[in-house]
Symmetry: C2
Subunit: 378 residues, 2 copies
């Protein structure tokens, strides 16, 4: 294969992989979101079957010298559940060290960054991304600073603080916080779960795992909750590698589920005018300006998948409906189950197909939200 | 093998397995805690390797007609961590549907009870046990009623309520709540995680899983947090089966970690006088009168293991120390890690041995407690 490099997918420009960077530099000084040049994918025989973590797919990842930072992330179960007369396979991504799928990205990104000599990282997230980066930095002996909006409820940062991460409260909106992080990136390496292409190398292991779960076939459809799109892109990258490697015949259709209150990717895909974002119960997907919008749309189009917008009522109902079957997840990811029901009803997905619904985070992360849905006062 | 039956281990009396019961009846009307008569254990070839849940060890369980109630419980990772110059293998039991090891017991118990025709169950627990029973009852189409002390913080029951369980608040102490449940057991089948022997059939799968994790050998030592003792007994039953089946040469030493503030089993094992229980941060192990005390002591003795009492400070420190390595767990189970350090220091365990530290519950279940340890005000 050609030498692996950072890639600006819009210009085709590359940067050498061995020099740490989190973005491409444009002539005008703007930050360009990067991917990596193509990796060749792997065959079943390349899986390290003795390894109970996503590192069983290490051969599919950028080369890593030394040990990864791993806490048993990945190898999550697929649990069947019926909705509206059809069965979906729920990929239970909260069976993870910090309780969300973000551990896939954090494990791979921080392992690769540590091997590049990075010993301190910056992140901005008060949610699952921040918790995952903080925990894996702690596990890897890396110093972490997490910037969060000052309005963040203290309970939300307990997990990151316990890891020993420095938490900086930034006055203003979530966007103000992201802007402050970009400025701070001059001082500490910006290991942003939204920006760094190594993070997507972690989320792509979901595709490899589904392929192995299904006896080395791709499902027909994969429905993921979508904010910045790290699971859309991860599935896009991973399944494209498997296709290039001749391991699957075609891409699964990838569907992005977004809250109607904040659905920039879905609106663009569906040909709707942009709309002002509104608050949503699906907090984890409330990303007004996803930096890889174009690449996300590319995955939905190339896979012949689609996008679904969910009302607040639909998201809340799906969350409680799942809980009534024992599946206790964040409202954010329950929308993937709500999208399954809508796609079935529309005839876009049919009951005979193999459809995976990706459930990304534990309900234990959303106690106040779920209490609200139940009409409880805490 | 002889016909499987419920067994009163103290009198040797048995009851037929096909008649649902949660306790033995003594002439004086008292409730006797039951086990099952011996099962023969299994060999590696009996494992259903295509099954990613504890049901891969189905051949080791009481016979079940039909499908189990399963949500991918079990198959948790073993993550190495160093403490005081030695490495322990952390068994990460919070990678589970409801976030704790109790899912093992709930899955097996409710699957077997449903097959016996039970369609409504009673439980008393405001903690991990209640959440697990509520979720698996929901998954299995079983009605659940959970009795909790009226003083329970509302946030603690959100998870059980979301499953659709009926939550009954009982005025008074935890003991008053248990007493009320015993009375209510006349009306609904009492599927108590502390009482029912089928629950231990679920927790015993931990032993089978460790055996498989370690390439079909037993570890030298297993350290478990201990309240009512379901992991002590589960390991005792499971490893004894493997020993009888000739799959292992000897039992691993089983060590029970208890908070010094409430350590009835450890005190008895260590020959100390009973003491009045005091509140402890290790809430999940604050069981003042464990109903199978004698059987727990038997496991510790027969395995040549032991018991360790931890101060509140030791438990809190262990919890934060683990978090500083990325391992975010409840203080309740952090005491198993604290016990490892003490056993090493005492020379009871040596660094060359294979020691498993069982971490039973997610830190996400203990946000207020961990915030306190960090000195944060929520």
């Amino acid at each position: 294969m050609e030498t692996l490099a950072y890639l600006d997918p819009r210009s085709g420009r590359t940067w050498p992989l061995d020099v740490p960077r989190w973005c491409g530099d444009a002539p005008g000084g703007e930050h360009l979101p990067l991917l990596l040049t193509d990796l060749p994918g792997i065959a079943p025989g390349d899986i390290d079957r003795g390894e109970r973590s996503l590192w069983r797919y290490r051969a599919a990842l950028p080369p890593l010298k030394g040990s990864p930072i791993s806490m048993g992330e990945g190898c999550t179960p697929l649990v069947p559940r019926s909705f509206g007369g059809a069965t979906a396979l729920l990929k239970c991504e909260w069976f993870m060290p910090t309780g969300s799928f973000k551990d896939r990205g954090a494990s791979v990104m921080l392992s690769l960054l540590r091997a590049q000599g990075i010993d301190a990282v910056l992140e901005d997230s008060s949610g699952n991304g921040g918790a995952a980066i903080a925990a894996y930095a702690a596990a890897g002996g890396i110093r972490a600073k997490i910037m969060v909006p000052a309005s963040t409820s203290p309970a939300k940062t307990v997990q990151s603080r316990a890891s020993g991460a420095e938490i900086e409260l930034v006055p203003g909106t979530r966007q103000d916080c992201a802007d402050a992080a970009l400025r701070e990136a001059a001082n500490i390496f910006y290991a942003s779960h939204n920006w760094h292409p190594f993070f997507l190398e972690g989320t792509k292991t979901l595709a490899y795992e589904l392929w192995e779960d299904l006896s080395f076939r791709a499902p027909d459809n994969v429905i993921v909750p979508c904010g910045a799109g790290s699971n859309v892109l991860g599935c896009g990258i991973g399944f494209a590698e498997l296709l290039r490697a001749g391991q699957i015949d075609r891409l699964p259709r990838i569907f992005a589920a977004q809250p109607a209150h904040c659905a920039p990717i879905a609106r663009e895909f569906l040909g709707l005018d942009p709309a002002e974002p509104q608050p949503t119960i699906a907090e984890g997907t409330a990303i007004a300006r996803p930096i890889r919008m174009r690449e996300c749309l590319g995955v939905l189009q190339q896979s012949q998948g689609g996008a679904v917008m969910l009302s607040e009522a639909e998201i809340g109902r799906a969350c409680l409906d799942l809980a009534r079957t024992g599946i206790y997840v964040e409202p954010t990811c329950a929308q993937a189950a709500a999208a399954f029901a809508k796609l079935l009803q529309a005839g876009t997905i049919n009951a005979a197909e193999t459809t995976v619904v990706v459930l990304t985070g534990s309900g234990l992360k959303a106690t106040p939200r779920i209490a609200e849905l139940l009409g409880l006062t805490l």
